[in-house]
Subunit: 418 residues, 2 copies
């Protein structure tokens, strides 16, 4: 980290975030992009489209931070007051800019729409040399780069893909060039061991935390141990050495290193091993295949998946024996095993995987409470099947997510060890 | 809204949110739960596991808000300092509580694990009468309800399902009983009309905003017009009247009212019409079926789905003609039409739907750029097919999400109008 950049604030403006109707993925995107270029966000603040709130957050940002990122409230409607409020805060006027108006008309034309008079307000821009215009090729609200009071303040729309566009095309390149430096860390990805046990193992070493900052990140499918550089000249060597120590101490629970997420790692490993995968999902309802196909290039390893949600569809599509379903239930090792057999028969994939469980809120019994999930996979080459029973905690979506993630982790463990 | 409760702050503590590795779904869950009982969050602050930061956020909360919700940093490891910091802030000591230790051991036993000594710290609790113990049946870190300086401060773990448990079992019931009142609003859900056009239509009425607070919430699949009560005795009547006015003005673009999300509404409508649906997904990779099965009770309307990601699987599973694929491409009206035919043949569902597109980042051409998506559905009874071409903006995940949502919206429009 560069020592001349002390702190970074993200300010998200929008009632829809405060009311809980929109998840603040803008903040996580921005902070992860910043993290990747060595800038750690020190505070994220979400406030409403309210001039007084915006002023207070700006005051705080300018007092505490060197970099301020503001999103939202740049739309054409009456509740969008960010631009006006920022201008009055810094004492700028607003000026109609014909070049921005041309850009807005182009964007509308691409969508086959003629802009309204109301959109003309979006072509107004601060009349100060302190403010640089950032073209928003993905939308009509211009971005702003304000250099004032010794700070850099970046203002983008709240529409995710417009913000992302401005981040990747303007802000990140600018910061890379002018501000950031390496922030070095390594991740050790563990599974089947609780955070407290990991911690106990590590803290029993006399020189813990080995000169580094160590963080334990619970992930649902396991715990990631993050080893962060203390900074300074030998930061990288200190991290690498601590990483080896920790890996040696936790080895049998480690399934990967430095992964972005299990599905990303699974796609990478399948490619590396020239394997393809097919899935049969019951309780996850397609989440496993959706997360796999979130990864660009996944088409090289994923050809098809089946969401066999009803008992009948397990029989029709995968030839699961109705007697198996009647005797052991859809949520059983036996059913998952036959789902795997069905996949081997109807696909060509080298790896087939299947999951069946009770995501809740209903459907639980004493013997199989909500969160009971059977999942596993089979490697066509060896015919070996790996099926496990889980008892996941959490609500419906959490059980789905944990099931989809853990299935990927188990396949990674097996393929990665070959 | 009760006038004696002015403001509410949510403070989320956790480096993993600030680094962008974890999306802050805790804040959106809490704020939506609070919103539902009439409490509008005025600020969400995310800070690191740092005593000074926690103190600053507490200072601000106590100055500005009446209700403060704090999550995170209650784990057993060295980076978890929330409890200690709060105690030192309010001047409390910490005391080992045998009853909490028993609870922790029970939780561990359920997971088949013996607790470590380190977990004993989690059984320490503030020794003040100002702090009430909240049992965390989903985990080991106790919740706290602090009544100090005339404020209510609720502290929960950052693990989502533990936080959710404490919210639903303790905090929300407490607030309902003691604090909240109705916050009345109506939503008009529109599609195929831009926010600026909606705004222009409404603002041309002389008495806009009809005595209400009107918000425009862009949703990817459309814009939701939210009509909020101005408060006071006739708030409900004023909202209902404005709702009718706006509905009359925007009618042909309205596809639903007050929906939670399109898939929720789709499940409701299918149930109401005694219909089932099957899906064939290419670019969405299972996201449509996953979102549908996020809805409890969806098994009544969804039996099976197919993720036909490769050309070959479209042919093998859905009998799409290879010539159609060669001539028109997988991303075409013709292919989607044959995917629908295939679904009609291999399923019994009354509604079948299919989607094929280019989610990016690669695969785009001049004629079919990234974001080009064909999707549609067919009603078995009439045989009618409804297929549309879209040009969605955004990155891979945004295109997937917009495709899955818009497909649901189009089915809703059709079934809802019958």
């Amino acid at each position: 980290m560069r020592t001349d950049i002390n702190r970074c604030h993200i300010i998200n403006i929008g009632d829809e975030i405060l009311s809980g109707h929109t998840v603040n993925t803008n903040a996580s995107y921005m902070s992860s992009q910043l993290y990747d270029i060595g800038i750690l966000t020190s505070r994220i603040t979400v406030i409403s489209d309210d001039a007084e709130e915006i002023r207070k957050a700006l005051d705080q940002g300018i007092k505490d931070a060197d970099l301020i990122f503001i999103t939202g409230g740049l739309g054409p409607t009456n509740d969008d007051i960010t631009k006006k409020t920022i201008c009055s805060y810094f004492g700028y006027g607003l000026q109609f800019r014909p070049d921005i108006w041309e850009h807005i008309k182009t964007i509308f034309a691409k969508r086959g729409i003629i802009p309204d008079e109301i959109n003309k307000e979006q072509a107004e821009f601060p009349d100060s040399e302190e403010v640089e215009y950032i073209t928003n090729y993905a939308g009509t609200a211009p971005g702003m780069h304000i250099k004032a009071k010794g700070k850099h303040i970046f203002v983008t729309p709240g529409v995710p893909n417009e913000m992302k566009f401005i981040m990747s095309e303007y802000i990140v390149p600018f910061l890379k060039e002018n501000i950031s430096d390496d922030l070095y860390y390594r991740d050790i990805n563990t599974t089947d061991i609780p955070e407290s046990r990991l911690y106990s193992i590590l803290i029993s070493e006399a020189d813990f935390p080995f000169g580094c900052a160590i963080a334990f990140l619970p992930q649902g499918y396991g715990v990631t141990v993050r080893v962060k550089s203390p900074g300074g000249e030998n930061g990288r060597e200190i991290v690498d050495s601590a990483f080896s120590r920790i890996n040696g101490l936790t080895g049998k629970h480690v399934f990967a290193y430095d992964i972005i997420n299990p599905h990303h790692e699974l796609v990478r490993l399948l490619k590396e091993n020239k394997l393809t995968v097919s899935s049969a999902e019951s309780c996850t309802g397609g989440l496993f295949s959706s997360m796999l196909t979130d990864i660009p290039g996944s088409s090289a390893v994923f050809s098809e998946g089946f969401v066999t949600y009803s008992d009948d569809s397990k029989f029709r599509i995968l030839s699961v024996n109705p007697q198996t379903l009647a005797l052991h239930g859809a949520v059983s090792e036996e059913t998952v095993s036959e789902m795997l057999d069905g996949l081997l028969a109807v696909t060509d994939s080298g790896v087939v995987c299947a999951v069946s469980g009770i995501a809740g809120p209903d459907g639980g019994t004493d013997k199989k409470p909500v969160g009971t999930v059977f999942s596993g996979f089979c490697l066509r080459k060896s015919g070996e099947k790996f099926i496990r029973r889980y008892n996941f905690s959490g609500d419906r979506l959490t059980v789905k997510k944990k099931s989809a993630d853990k299935l990927a982790v188990e396949i990674i463990k097996q393929i990665g060890s070959n």
